[in-house]
Symmetry: C2
Subunit: 230 residues, 2 copies
């Protein structure tokens, strides 16, 4: 054991020299200066992934929506609010990255016209008109040059495998990590999670564990796949 420990000190960290970009947390889409649309993502999974990659020696850029979390040590956190802001930053950073992991719960839609003043409405009913946000992970995966190994997430409440495999193919991802957020005690806002990873030719279940443990397993699997590609 001592020999192992001493050897460890002289082994180059596994991800030394690599740049990983991780997105995390929800996005907030403004309705007016005080109101917004968001979701229950806590950011814990993405932060744990960023931390796990950094602890293996990667340079990590963490693009984070609004969360209550402290920045993980050894990572560069860049805070954003809206999906459009996150998209812009991701497209700047991804071409210089070895790995891009889209763990954020990005709003599919934003408000078509954000009101400059607090909306005054006296009707019994009203409508909010939404337009589609850019698809960040699909745009990264579609890069022609300097495309990183691209990993998506699928948080679903039903037909998890069907939707996850559909996203993997349609968005041309290398890997997708799927979880069922309708199950109590895992996923959004929880400390635990269970994931199933799908690549073009593999299905890898990662059973219920803390998000920190899952992140370490996921980062190891990704780094092995990146090594295999090279």
């Amino acid at each position: 054991e001592l020999v192992d420990a001493v050897n460890q000190l002289f082994v180059e960290p596994k991800l030394q020299g690599q740049h990983w970009v991780v997105t995390a947390g929800p996005t907030q889409e403004a309705i007016d200066p005080v109101r917004y649309i968001s979701n229950h993502s806590s950011g814990k999974m993405g932060y744990a992934i960023a931390q796990a990659a950094a602890s293996l020696g990667a340079k990590v850029s963490l693009i984070s929506g609004p969360t209550k979390l402290e920045a993980p040590s050894g990572c560069k956190r860049i805070s954003v609010t809206s999906a459009q802001d996150m998209h812009q930053l991701a497209m700047e950073l991804a071409p210089n990255a070895d790995v891009f992991i889209a763990c954020a719960a990005v709003a599919d839609y934003r408000v078509a016209q954000v009101a400059e003043q607090k909306i005054k409405k006296h009707e019994d009913a009203m409508q909010i008109n939404l337009v589609k946000n850019p698809d960040i992970v699909a745009d990264v995966a579609a890069l022609n040059e300097n495309r990183p190994f691209t990993v998506g997430f699928a948080a679903e409440t039903q037909d998890v495998e069907h939707y996850a495999k559909g996203k993997l193919q349609k968005k041309k991802l290398n890997l997708i990590a799927a979880n069922n957020v309708a199950v109590q005690g895992q996923g959004f806002n929880s400390d635990d999670n269970a994931l199933t990873l799908y690549s073009a030719d593999e299905t890898i279940p990662l059973s219920l564990a803390t998000k920190v443990e899952l992140a370490q397993q996921l980062v190891k699997i990704i780094s092995d796949k990146v090594s295999d590609q090279k």
Copy 2:
């Protein structure tokens, strides 16, 4: 000074025997199991008011939407999510209260039909249909029996005095506390605030201060007005 301090020990707390109900924080209106509409209220002002009333000896029920804050000492906090939940609880507690302070930033509208599964939409645009939520402070102020002294808040981004006085009259409040949330460094998510209080015959400006200080001033003014009524 020693005499003052000793006297203080034997003086009955000013609000002993009174029950104050305070609402605080935002509400969250579900769109589907993962998405929601909310607002930038931090809950700090309402929590500071609850704390200030409790420290003067009142029994305080704090009805709180989702916030990051610790429950203030000496208060009973009851956590709610939606405006409908907050309304139900307020209507149960208000008839037994001496004072009702509606500091929460309650969503004016909720989603007409909350989806049971995560919404799958592939269109470039979509709409969210909203219906009006009950007006909590107006319903409390309209109580025929056991009506508490009722205080509202108006967070505005323009024409603050106009809207605040309109709400005071229309909702038949005893007092309204107005602030301009468009000013940087006060209001939503800030530790500081500035308020203007309007009653039927008075305008009382409370200049920029910490929310804790403002809450103490506000509680003192309300308790004096309640004493005058008796």
